[in-house]
């Protein structure tokens, strides 16, 4: 079904690891307008599909990988994808947003996201190639680090261009804050890697050959030029974050929270990414 908005593909892929079967679920324009994408989609699906009384490592728990309408076009600061599940660390809803090109690749494959349920009896990884979904044996790569896993999967499929989200030994051993790594970027904090490990799912590899369009390309280009110039005027976005990474925000957030009378952390060396000598 073609949707009214070109930012959505209108299809969610449901992957069941117990039966090794997949099905697609359609989303409507109203649904997209109401929940927008990413976090909204994930929260709605997990609210509908997961029983709140189960353990996080139960086979019926859902791992959701969702994308938003900005994926796969060159809007700056929007290249992210979203992972959510019932967290083994807090036993509540948990979401994490990760960088990398996974979100764009999911869109190019023709989906808005994946919902992964069930538990495989043997280690597997899922390879999504547009409409074909394969469950491949991951016994060779079980126990490997994430960077090795990604390289081995790319070698096995024979395409260096595919995008792989993998877990490492932490996720396999169900460490309750294990991450899922795409390229060198992490969906961290709440243990979505441990839930993937409990499903015996080593990795999700995606290759898409589709395309994305925008409704009004000329206006979009104009807006993009304006946006890129505006971004360069903000010092934190122009020089701070690209040079020092996320830790550059520590000092400014510290000042903000201090002004509000909330808790602050003591300044110490290298905590704000600049390795300046500070007092302990």
């Amino acid at each position: 079904m073609k949707m009214k908005y070109s930012g959505y593909k209108g299809k969610i892929l449901r992957i069941n690891l117990t039966t090794k079967k997949t099905s697609t679920m359609e989303i409507t324009d109203e649904f997209a307008r109401k929940y927008l994408g990413g976090n909204g989609f994930s929260a709605r699906f997990i609210f509908d599909m997961v029983d709140p009384r189960i353990d996080a490592f139960d086979p019926t728990n859902v791992v959701s990988m969702m994308t938003g309408p900005f994926q796969g076009i060159n809007i700056p600061t929007a290249g992210k994808y979203h992972m959510a599940t019932k967290s083994p660390l807090t036993n509540g809803f948990f979401d994490s947003i990760s960088g990398g090109h996974m979100g764009a690749e999911i869109k190019y494959a023709g989906y808005d996201g994946f919902l992964i349920t069930g538990r495989s009896d043997k280690p597997v990884y899922v390879f999504v190639d547009d409409d074909n979904v394969e469950f491949r044996s991951a016994e060779k790569i079980w126990g490997r680090l994430t960077s090795e896993t990604q390289e081995m999967i790319k070698e096995e499929i024979g395409d260096p261009k595919i995008c792989v989200s993998a877990i490492g030994p932490a996720g396999e051993n169900r460490v309750r804050y294990a991450c899922v790594i795409t390229e060198y970027r992490a969906a961290g904090r709440g243990g979505v890697g441990a839930v993937m490990g409990s499903k015996n799912l080593k990795a999700v590899a995606v290759r898409g050959s589709g395309t994305n369009e925008v409704a009004d390309p000329e206006k979009f280009e104009e807006w993009m030029k304006w946006f890129n110039e505006e971004v360069k005027k903000v010092p934190a976005l122009a020089s701070g974050l690209p040079t020092y990474g996320t830790p550059v925000l520590v000092s400014s957030i510290n000042n903000m929270f201090g002004a509000w009378g909330l808790g602050t952390i003591r300044p110490s060396s290298s905590r704000d990414g600049r390795a300046s000598p500070g007092r302990r």
């Binding site: 060159n74 690749e105 060198y184 050959s209 589709g210 395309t211 390309p217």
Partner: protein, 148 residues
């Protein structure tokens, strides 16, 4: 455009890639797909950046190499070298994919819908990837041609 055509008869164009400046944003791929098809997608882009390790990137694009493996590999002689570009004759091409396998630089791929080989054509002498790169990692250089 005329200038580049004149230059291409004497010299060889090359889109040079500086690994140290690349931020792996793939804006070059977006701009390439946008220029040629008006859509966004990495399967229809003629330039591809892949990541080997945290700080090691590789740029897959037609380098106009001296051996021209793709032209010799083509069974129907649909490929030819004209004014610094490998040109595809779409009437002769039978979409066998031999040129894709023959290219050691992985600079050729088949279009997912039309199944025609897509090769960098320098966007009529003014590459959009070079213009779009926010880090200045791509540049167009002219090398002396050793083979006509």
């Amino acid at each position: 455009m005329k200038m580049s055509v004149l230059l291409a008869t004497e010299k060889k164009p090359l889109v040079r890639f500086d690994m140290k400046k690349c931020a792996f944003c793939k804006i070059c791929e977006f701009s390439c797909a946008k220029f040629h098809y008006g859509k966004y997608g990495d399967a229809i882009s003629r330039i591809t950046i892949i990541r080997k390790s945290p700080l090691m990137f590789k740029c897959l694009i037609c380098t106009r190499c001296e051996k021209r493996y793709c032209i010799t590999a083509c069974p129907t002689k649909a490929l030819s070298y004209k004014n610094g570009n490998i040109v595809v004759d779409e009437k002769l091409c039978n979409s066998c994919g031999d040129c894709v396998k023959a290219c050691p630089f992985q600079g050729i791929r088949l279009h997912p819908e039309t199944k025609m080989p897509i090769i960098c054509d320098l966007c009529n002498g003014d590459p959009s990837c070079v213009k779009a790169c926010p880090k200045g990692a791509l540049s167009l250089v002219w090398l002396p041609e050793t083979r006509k």
